[in-house]
């Protein structure tokens, strides 16, 4: 068994440098690597290109790194919930690349799977297709999209073992498995770190081969963005 355990978030982000491209798991505030983000926010790393489906909210998630001006560019599918984001974008301080959500997921999965490019129908005829190769298959137009890898990926799981195997909980899974595949160094933070042999090999969502470092997060706030309930 190859042991991937590092002591904490600070050790886990070692080697991360300014101006790198970094992948983040999570959807909204669900399943985001809170501890890695906190550790990055304490460094003077800046100029990051962040690939993440969303951009956090004011004061939480990637919103923390935005407030610190550590992010130069966001590559996301939806960035709606963040006033500071809006300010930086409109002022030109922040670059934004918008990518269809399914294309974003598939480009990261492709990077991890050694597929350098693939055809997808999403975005044909729209701005997203500008400059891209178009080809028809089965009577339907498709555009060529390229794999998207990065030197670092930060993901968050529910349980993980020393070998880096991960199990996610509920819809906190979302982008985490694909980002884990696409990172050259993938750092996983987990709510519960267990010895190898504890998890059932049959129930692993992300095999340890995709994870280079793993640690148990000190604290998980797990904020809810839209608390919606019904009455009994």
């Amino acid at each position: 068994m190859i042991n991937k355990v590092v002591p904490n978030a600070t050790a886990a982000i070692a080697g991360l440098e300014s101006h790198m491209t970094v992948l983040f798991g999570g959807f909204g505030l669900c399943g985001i690597p809170e501890n890695a983000i906190a550790a990055i926010s304490k460094t003077d790393i800046t100029g990051l290109t962040c690939v993440s489906n969303n951009a956090g909210v004011d004061g939480f998630g990637l919103g923390i790194l935005l407030e610190n001006r550590q992010i130069k560019k966001m590559i996301s599918s939806y960035v709606g919930e963040n006033a500071e984001f809006e300010r930086q974008m409109l002022s030109g301080e922040l670059e934004v690349d918008l990518v269809p959500q399914g294309t974003l997921a598939e480009r990261c999965r492709a990077a991890g799977a050694g597929i350098p490019a693939f055809f997808t129908p999403a975005g044909f005829g729209t701005e997203v297709a500008e400059g891209k190769e178009v080809r028809w298959f089965n009577g339907k137009p498709h555009i060529l999209e390229h794999a998207f890898d990065a030197p670092f990926a930060f993901v968050k799981a529910w349980k993980g073992d020393e070998a880096g195997n991960l199990i996610f909980k509920g819809t906190a899974r979302n982008f985490n498995p694909v980002m884990a595949m696409a990172g050259k160094i993938t750092v996983a933070e987990v709510e519960e770190l267990v010895p190898a042999g504890t998890l059932d090999p049959n129930e692993i969502h992300t095999p340890g081969i995709f994870v280079q470092r793993i640690f148990q997060g000190e604290k998980f706030e797990k904020r809810i963005e839209q608390r919606t309930v019904r009455t009994r």
């Binding site: 599918s77 918008l98 959500q101 399914g102 997808t120 819809t171």
Partner: protein, 219 residues
């Protein structure tokens, strides 16, 4: 004229037994409340769940169980959870039979614009481009006109589009319309209760096809 729930109720009648359905934010979300009792449909949310249930009871919210609108939800018996790549595999691979979503504009050839207004803050397309490029049944739920009273059913979209020739039906506060598969225009299928054909004609900027008597919809 239909209110939001009326639009949702009418769209619910488009569902077929055994379909998997993706509902967008806004009016589309309301559709889940009106599924006929004699059919089974299952709701997919693109952040990674099939078999999405209603909102949780107060106090039972789980931060790890949300829908694509970031709302807390529940999972029904038979639900399944998966990652974003598999979620969009379902969508792109046309395993999800129907997508219901809102729009700012629809063209008479079925183009849809619903993600970007030049000059305004652009929040992003989310999964909309993947959804409209994929499902066989794209139903648009929207008001017939915008706040300025201008038709949202146009000859061509003026806003940046989300997808081309993809919308199959449109349910508005005034009417049910089908996009003619040969691009001839919006075929008027039904009038909302109390709405005249003349009103629909006056509020539809794109080509409108009216054949025979247009029935009032039955909800």
């Amino acid at each position: 004229m239909l209110d939001k729930n009326g639009i949702a109720k009418r769209i619910a009648k488009e569902m077929q037994d055994g379909w998997y359905v993706n509902l967008g934010i806004g009016i589309p979300t309301l559709v889940a409340n009106f599924i006929p009792e004699n059919i089974s449909v299952e709701f997919q949310s693109e952040n990674g769940i099939l078999g999405m249930g209603p909102f949780p009871f107060d106090g039972e919210e789980d931060a790890d169980l949300i829908n694509a609108g970031k709302q807390t939800i529940t999972a029904l018996p038979g639900a399944a959870i998966f990652d974003s790549a598999l979620s969009f595999a379902m969508i792109r691979g046309q395993h999800v039979q129907m997508t219901v979503l809102g729009a700012m504009e629809v063209s008479e050839t079925g183009d849809i614009a619903n993600w970007k207004i030049p000059g305004k803050m652009v929040k992003g397309m989310g999964g909309a481009m993947d959804l409209v490029a994929s499902a066989e049944n794209i139903i648009v739920a929207m008001q017939h006109t915008n706040r300025a009273g201008e038709s949202k059913l146009l000859k061509t979209c003026t806003l940046p589009i989300t997808g081309v020739r993809c919308v199959k039906k449109i349910v508005t506060d005034l009417a049910v319309l089908e996009v003619d598969p040969d691009g001839k225009g919006f075929r008027l299928l039904e009038r909302a209760p109390g709405v005249s054909v003349e009103e629909i004609v006056s509020k539809t900027a794109g080509q409108l096809i009216i054949e025979g008597d247009i029935p009032e919809m039955v909800l």
